[in-house]
Subunit: 141 residues, 2 copies
DNA sequence: AATTAACTTATAATGATTCTAAAGTAGAAG
DNA sequence: CTTCTACTTTAGAATCATTATAAGTTAATT
């Protein structure tokens, strides 16, 4: 239900405006993780509502959610920033050819040895990206 | 010796000009991996040679080396692109506070389980980034 | 309804990267 | 050594993502 969204907005210090609730619907009203760029999110909103939304509002809202842990930024090559509605620590399969980005389930990956850390430092976050491509690439003849 | 550079330039399809040889000296005339951004590389060259180099030349040359496998691009959050003179498949320790980026030796890390891949796909590359921070962060009271 | 801080928006500014086109140079050929 | 030409360098413009600005709009409180 919609109160769910309002909570996320309120705890992020944001008033539930029409625009923000639309953003929430796209981001959080789904079962699966959603991986997105700002500009794709903007397009989806405008298609859904048949009206314009300001780019600044999309940036501001997504950043507020990021700062409050409801979305996270993903490190990938390429010009635009990708965000992820799964803000848990998790990893990705990335297909550069198609642009597909899939969550890896925690039970499907295991990092069993980590390097020694510099004195006085501790691990903050681990990000693993497995890039994939078609079997047909660089095939032996 | 310098012939080493010339080879890398030639096999990248580039004439060994004064500017390109300078870039090579900075990138390849060292024992350790070098992690850099375009604009830091440009500054280093200009300090070393006490003369200007065009930004376009730096971009063009680094991209040529990237396309020929002599440097690779690293996926990190942040506005600028990082490159790496270690073009082998390897992983990184990253300290966002200081900007330090360290190679992880292959024997110091082990990914012992990888997820099933989509039909018809194979692994192209695996990138692991371990972000670190000071022990003092978020300490229990 | 009145008040006000928060908000949305169009637009400008910024910063990284890429493009352009004119002037300079490496290397081949004579 | 000189000429020729394709390749290269360069300054500046263009592009594109992102951030800042500031003027009008709205949510929330009284
Ligand atoms: Mn890139
Ligand atoms: Mn970022
Ligand atoms: Zn994800
Ligand atoms: Zn490295």
């Amino acid at each position: 239900m919609k109160n769910h969204f309002i909570d996320r907005l309120r705890t992020s210090g944001l008033r539930p405006t029409k625009q923000r609730v639309e953003i929430c619907k796209i981001l959080f009203d789904r079962k699966e993780t959603f991986h997105f760029t700002i500009d794709r999110l903007k397009k989806i909103i405008e298609k859904n509502t048949k009206s314009k939304i300001s780019l600044a509002t999309v940036y501001n809202t997504v950043h507020a959610f990021k700062n409050n842990g409801y979305v996270k930024e993903i490190s990938l090559h390429g010009n635009k920033t990708f965000f992820d509605t799964n803000s848990e620590n998790h990893h990705h399969l990335y297909d550069q050819e198609t642009g597909d980005l899939l969550d890896i389930r925690n039970e499907d990956i295991l990092l069993s040895k980590v390097p020694p850390l510099p004195k006085g430092k501790k691990i903050k976050k681990i990000e693993i990206t497995i890039s994939i491509e078609n079997n047909s690439h660089n095939q032996k003849k």
